[in-house]
Symmetry: C2
DNA sequence: CGTTCAATTGAGTCTGTTCAACAGCGGTGG
DNA sequence: CCACCGCTGTTGAACAGACTCAATTGAACG
């Protein structure tokens, strides 16, 4: 429950946590909102994104169970967050969490590491968005999803996508059509299998990795 | 000197610091190198970037005097760093810096904030790379440079670019030619002035800001 | 004053977009 | 049970923005 806060102190956390639920597409918070809360995902998936005035959207990341949400926020959130699927989140008041944190310097250090990991991921994504072709972007995305599925213990090189083609497009800086075409191109080349629209199998991981270039 | 470490303890820092100099184009460190050092820039500018196998480059950021370099590193650097101009850097051994840090929790907190600021910048850049047009990207870049120049006290809406067109292109996910063409287009529209190739004036900041969209 | 490298400009090409039609699938209600 | 609807995803054809390749201009430096 509220997995991932390393050791002990679960009791202290229990006292300040609120459980909140979201339906697919529901907003957790919007960019620019005051940021009184931090969340941890116990079930479901969340997308983080930024919008331009005219509605163009860039998804900056997808969150999975165990991930934190809103940690980076200073006074206001720097991005919007929506549930992709049905999701259960644990909500903490930042102020109360801060109190606990000052008692636990190692946790603070852990948060710092997490921020750095996120930063490294963001830089990798910049490389993807700025310099990779559509095919390379989709391949990179799929390898990333595979890695995540592997961490979660899925042995076989196959996994389900929690997000729609539209989400993938907005994550990779492409259009839905290009993502769809690239999926079928990869399938026709034998680099991936698509048992259903939201399930992907990867017969030869090394081959797909090669298609990501860098 | 080694500006920007908030308060006191300059003496302690002095004991563990080494001053290193770099010529334009010189490598500070490469992606994947072991990361024993953290740097602070006392003079000059540095570019951070990642490469693909075939040489395609994505610049993830430019650093200015006062900025830190290599903080985010875990065991190895996640990106390469090169001096753009002549640069003086203060070098610290991570291990020694860590010792000081444990004595100074507020500094650690400050580092965390800095990482979060970097993360927010990275997300803004993702929006730029994934969803903005060439013109919008260049406009965003120029506004960013202007903001930085303004922070440094330049009152007028004009500033010098520390980096080449090639660096700008690799930062914005464009080619040199497109950057150049976009500069002239913005000039012909009266949105910017170009007294010299490396100097930009912005007669109407709001107008240029409008050209950045989002 | 010539060399060299960076930046600009031009012409043609291509990758990915746009616009549009169609297929698949789940849900709903007659 | 199945026709209808709405939504997501796929496919096709034409278009456009940025790229590639090439030539020219400009600026810095010896």
């Amino acid at each position: 429950m509220c997995s991932a806060i390393d050791t002990g102190r679960i009791d202290a956390l229990d006292r300040i946590v609120t459980h909140v639920q979201f339906r697919p597409g529901q907003t957790v918070f919007d960019e620019g909102d005051l940021a009184p809360y931090v969340y941890n995902i116990s079930r479901g998936h969340v997308r983080l994104f930024k919008l331009l005035q005219d509605g163009r959207r860039q998804i900056t990341g997808f969150l999975n169970p165990g991930d934190f949400l809103g940690l980076a926020a200073r006074k206001t959130y720097a991005y919007s967050a929506e549930a992709i699927s049905d999701a259960d989140l644990c909500r903490f008041k930042v102020t109360e969490l801060e109190e606990l944190l000052t008692e636990m310097p190692p946790v603070r250090e852990r948060l710092y590491e997490m921020a750095n990991d996120e930063l490294a991921a963001a830089q990798e994504q910049m490389l993807c968005l700025g310099r990779k072709t559509a095919k390379e972007r989709v391949a990179s995305f799929l390898i990333g999803q595979l890695r995540h599925a592997a961490d979660c213990g899925a042995g076989d090189a196959a996994f389900d996508l929690a997000m729609s083609r539209s989400d993938i497009a907005d994550y990779l800086g492409l259009t839905i059509e290009t993502v769809s075409r690239t999926f079928t191109a990869l399938r026709e080349e034998g680099l991936i299998g698509l048992p259903t629209t939201h399930r992907v199998s990867i017969p030869d991981v090394a081959a797909l990795e090669f298609a990501t270039e860098g």
